[in-house]
């Protein structure tokens, strides 16, 4: 009897225990689970599961290097060349500026700066109204973008060096992209019956999408409680 671990959320399928409440009897081999079986916690396909080594020890706690709270002003000056904001802005599309401003809107809301948040929202709406609509949009094009995006993470991770925040955002968004990839593949194969009789939730923090009747207690990717998993309504 072996154990298999979901690479996205860490759920462990134990062959010895099965999942009796889902009709999977104890002793059911991982290979015997149907091909369309998905992780009960996050919805990842079987292909995301990895065989666990016997008696896999819990990962050792890494030693954390202390971070200086007050980097010297020289270090800061070196990382922000004069006019950096404007230069970067000139390279950004209207669509990117729209999301940049909605990010800052959320940053203000957290501080209860509602007037500032409203101004950023207005700027975001302006840029969104200027953004070019996507040329001939198709499901296939969306899946191709998702696949191409997933291929960029190794390089990006190499560039982050020891930046904990950057490593964190890359880990979460790569996991979310794998979920979106499997959802688009399933949608292509199963069509609308994949969600016809159930609900769709999006995590307001990391973007994880959950298809199911009720959301999990916490987001399987960023671990935020379920009140931040927002239901997307089906409109006629």
């Amino acid at each position: 009897m072996s154990k298999y671990k979901c690479a996205i959320c860490g759920f462990i399928y134990d062959e010895a225990k099965g999942i009796p409440e889902a009709g999977i009897a104890p002793g059911t081999r991982f290979n015997e689970l149907p091909d369309n079986w998905v992780c009960p916690l996050c919805g990842s396909p079987k292909s995301e599961f990895e065989l666990m080594a016997e008696d896999e020890a819990p990962s050792e706690r890494k030693k954390i290097e202390p971070v200086s709270l007050e980097p010297t002003s020289n270090a800061i000056a070196a990382t922000i060349p004069a006019g950096e904001g404007e230069d970067r802005m000139r390279e950004m599309t209207f669509g990117e500026m729209a999301d940049m401003c909605s990010n800052l809107q959320r940053g203000c809301e957290k501080q209860y700066l509602y007037e500032e948040a409203g101004l950023f929202k207005d700027l975001s709406d302006y840029y969104r109204s200027k953004a070019e609509p996507a040329a001939d949009p198709t499901d296939a094009k969306l899946l191709a973008l998702i696949n191409d995006n997933l291929s960029k993470y190794d390089d990006a991770n190499a560039d982050t060096k020891n930046d904990r925040g950057a490593k964190r955002v890359l880990l979460w968004s790569e996991k979310v992209m794998k979920i979106l990839q499997s959802l688009m593949e399933r949608y292509g194969a199963e069509g609308e019956k994949m969600i016809e009789n159930t609900n769709v939730y999006v995590c307001d923090i990391c973007g994880f999408i959950y298809i199911g009747d009720n959301p999990p207690d916490i987001c399987p990717i960023c671990k935020v409680p379920s009140l931040k998993l927002l239901k997307v309504e089906r409109r006629q």
Binding site: V67, P71, A75, I76, T79, I80, G83, G85, E86, R88, M89, R90, T93, G95, E96, D99, M100, N103, R106, G107, Q111, Y112, L113, E116, L119, F120, D122, Y126, A131, P133, A134, D139, K141, L142, N149, K152, Y153, D159, T160, G165, A166, R168, V169, W172, S173, V176, L183, E192, V200, V202, D204, I205, C206, G207, F208, I209, V232, E233, R234, R235
Partner: protein, 163 residues
């Protein structure tokens, strides 16, 4: 520091009124009177509904980010913005409510991911030097319909507090 009240949590037990030495917690709007607040933190400690917190007046210098790392993150974000636009178009063109629902979920997902990526590429704190530079850059827009007054107001309101 000054106290700030989250009205969603405030259940009007009003213990803050008993302890505030300046009367800053007693207002008609429900928010703290920032002009009167001296940042002593008494109301924060006495509030049982955890509606009050202390907000800093200034922020530390933000963690430095290398240009190389920011470029990598921005490139990943750029593609997610493209995907977001595809979802938006698919949502608007959808024949069925189910397709519309799925594409709306995906559109939101891409936006949340992109926003999170920007935060880690040096645009986390609205009061940061980076954001200020970006706002000033926006003011150079030649488009007549760009709401310059709003960008200008933000530059004024978000005084550079990162030091």
């Amino acid at each position: 520091m000054h106290a700030i009240r989250n009205l969603r949590f405030c259940d009007k037990e009003c213990l803050c009124l008993y302890v505030c030495p300046t009367g800053a917690t007693d207002t008609e709007s429900g928010q703290i009177d920032f002009k009167k607040c001296i940042g002593c933190g008494m109301c924060v400690r006495t509030c049982r509904s955890h509606a009050l917190t202390l907000a800093p007046d200034n922020f530390p210098v933000q963690q430095p980010k290398t240009a190389e790392m920011c470029d990598s993150i921005m490139e990943i974000a750029k593609q997610k913005v493209e995907a977001e636009a595809v979802c938006k178009a698919l949502k608007e063109n959808a024949d069925s409510p189910v397709e519309r629902q799925l594409m709306e979920a995906m559109e939101i997902s891409f936006r949340r991911q992109t926003e999170d990526l920007y935060r880690e590429a040096g645009y986390m704190l609205p009061q940061s030097a980076n954001v200020r530079k970006m706002l000033i850059g926006m003011l150079n827009s030649n488009d007549m319909s760009f709401p310059k007054d709003k960008a200008l107001k933000l530059v004024e309101m978000l005084q550079r507090q990162e030091r």
